[in-house]
Symmetry: C2
Subunit: 433 residues, 2 copies
């Protein structure tokens, strides 16, 4: 097994020693910013007092709202003139969140991204097409700099223009791509129109991220393109892509623990959950000098995978995301994420594109009803067949959710849409649900 | 006066000595590519035989067609695995032209671009917003890497989304921008709608390029935004932006002669024109290792400005572009560029957005007729006033062109458009004109 960086195979003890050393430096650096000076003072926290990694828990979380309140630059730990890059969230209304980087920060980010790509099997001899929009969105420049750092021949294709994408993929014998899952599915239809089998390309590896998608979609993409697809996790507050990434085991994403301190907490109490249990991912930058961020609540729900990874990397893995905290539904005391339901439905060939989750209250009892769009060819007149399908879907959902939903089969295009986008959850339980 | 690079103030003798040294190395490097191996062999040219800069004239030109014929990689002088970036022309039909870069090439390009920006007055303390589309178009990443190299806080805004552009310009006290002239004019209208005076911004400097525009448009932009606007010249075959750039004299663009060998030739004969005379710019890369290009016919018409520049830089300046060779019209034996006509018209407040140049043959005599759209407020019923305006336009055009055109005033929206884009020249002279 070969690795990009010696840091990947430090022992657990060594990683944690490195984390502690970097955490102390990072908190000291953070304290230079107006925001953290106040934030630390408000809870009587002194960065010099940190003796163990657990000491970080004495610091209150940083939230998206804190970032907004710090607009435009109250979280800077160094003078603005030292910054060479800025990324901002895309909203034109409301206050954007802004992340700044020094040249050292960009170098560090590029090397973390290169490490991810190397882990997925890409090498400097690969031809890599980045099909992500560039600009303020971190997915474009983030992956671009990583690919160049690794030494791939990098094609900055950008988003859209499918015919040109396909011409580039074909003519330059592209072996690696960065692509959004929904676009990868769309592009496969364009390939079909052109009578080109995507399997005939030189393509080996896809980096896939930037929007939630299911394991089934991954397998479908791998099948259509004849490739391996690797999941990427990142968020602009922690640079962007390059935070956690799958190794060739394709089972959970290694968090680069020499660059980030990751915690998983109960989103309600903020207390750490036991290893292996679901909770909200909280992250601290360990290597960013321009704008350190401490205990950032990502709102992303995941869990640590506790078994050691056969790839030899000691950095802990997080499970694929279970959704956003804000999306979590509580039904009969059980936590349910719409993503879990989507995963089950999309694995069944009879199911179409849409579904709707309806939460109802029957007296004091919560119920979950799932309306499922059935593909035309399966929407037959035979009631017995439909009844059997309905039962099969209900059983699979019960296995996943641990509660039994009511399943209702509906025809194509009969579910409500809001401005072209499907509505996935309808909570009819009234307030206090 | 301060300079970014010692190379800017070498003496003429030193620059030419450096050019000769680099030319020899570059031609030797080029000879390693399949294309130039053949190209040099076909004319019995041996790179080792080069003793003076003039010896380069023994090599036949490289044309756009040669680049197309070399698709995808016959001009590479090093293995494909050494390349880390590719840019391609955007056409989806026809063969694109492709330029490859090694990491050294990208570093060299970024430093040339940083040198341009420094010359225009930008420093590492500036906040720089790049309003150019990213991706395969070289203007985006080319300027971006230069700005980061210089150490500016670089905002990768990308193209479009005017309200966001204005929010960024305002909130981040942006001092420098890269913008396309037509978009700068459009954006000024959005500022007006929002009731913001662009002069109230922190903006000092604009880098302007990527599409032809006149001196009058430059002055108008400077006036509207209260800034200095600097002209940029570049083409993807020579990397992209960073080939030639204006100093603070704003009179001609210094060609970085330590990086490029520039010639100006008669487009018909290919022979050098005397210094100061108009001709086609021909360029040779002196520092690119991955894909050297030798004596590339840019099709751009310009001339060397022969006077020494007060800024102290010895690198020769080229005049603002007079148009593309392919656009050159010959009327009564005189060379005319549509750009010259545009320049005259756009300086007159009575003239609207559109004009049409019609070439006619009357017996054996060529005539040039210019149909000029007049702004509503000037399109009055008073025939005397219109007649006077007509004469004034004709006189100014005669001064510029040295032939007397017939001028016809027309109302707004009465000129033909091809798919939304104005048609500028209509040649009615039949073949052999
Ligand atoms: Zn692993
Ligand atoms: Zn000068």
């Amino acid at each position: 097994m070969v690795y990009y960086d010696a840091a990947e195979t430090l022992s657990r003890v060594e990683i944690e020693r490195l984390q502690l050393e970097r955490l102390r430096a990072s908190l000291k650096q953070a304290a230079k910013s107006p925001f953290y000076a106040k934030h630390f003072a408000a809870c009587d926290f002194d960065p010099a007092s940190v003796a163990t990694l657990a000491d970080v828990r004495r610091i209150p979380f940083t939230t998206k709202q804190h970032l907004r309140d710090s607009y435009p630059d109250a979280m800077l730990a160094m003078p603005l003139s030292e910054m060479v890059r800025m990324h901002a969230s895309s909203g034109t209304t409301g206050t954007p969140t802004v992340i700044y980087h020094t040249q050292n920060d960009l170098d560090w980010w590029a090397s973390l991204m290169a490490r991810c790509m190397y882990m997925a099997g890409l090498r400097r001899t690969d031809v890599f097409q980045n099909m992500s929009g560039y600009g303020l969105f971190t997915g474009g420049l983030g992956i671009h700099y990583g690919a160049e750092r690794l030494g791939c021949l990098t094609i900055p294709a950008g988003a859209g223009n499918s015919h040109r994408q396909i011409k580039l993929l074909t003519d330059f014998k592209v072996t690696g791509i960065h692509i959004i899952p929904s676009y990868a599915l769309y592009l496969s239809a364009v390939f079909a129109e052109l009578g080109i089998d995507p399997k005939s390309l030189s393509l080996r590896i896809a980096l896939v991220g930037a929007e939630p998608y299911t394991e089934e979609t991954r397998r479908r993409l791998e099948e259509i393109y004849g490739i391996k697809a690797y999941n990427s996790y990142g968020l602009s507050e922690m640079n962007g892509p390059g935070v956690a990434f799958e190794c060739q085991e394709q089972h959970g994403m290694h968090v680069w623990e020499d660059a980030y301190l990751a915690e998983i907490v109960d989103p309600a109490t903020g207390e750490p959950v036991p290893d292996g249990e679901l909770g909200e991912l909280v992250m601290t930058t360990l290597g960013r000098e321009g704008m350190p961020v401490v205990r950032y609540r990502t709102r992303d729900m995941t869990r640590f995978l506790t078994e050691p990874c056969p790839c030899g990397r000691v950095h802990r893995r997080i499970d694929r995301l279970h959704g956003r905290c804000d999306d979590m539904l509580i039904v009969k005391g059980v936590n349910i994420f719409p993503m879990q339901i989507e995963r089950v439905l999309m694995a069944m060939p009879e199911v179409g594109q849409d579904y709707l989750i309806v939460l109802e209250r029957d007296g004091y009892i919560d119920n979950i009803r799932v309306k499922v769009e059935i593909r035309d060819e399966y929407f037959v007149e035979d009631m017995r067949q439909l009844g059997a399908l309905q039962k099969r879907i209900a059983a699979r959902l019960r296995d996943e959710l641990l509660v039994t939903p009511k399943v209702e089969l509906v025809e194509r295009n009969s579910l409500p849409k809001t401005e072209g986008k499907a509505t996935r959850v309808l909570d009819m339980r009234g307030n206090g649900a």
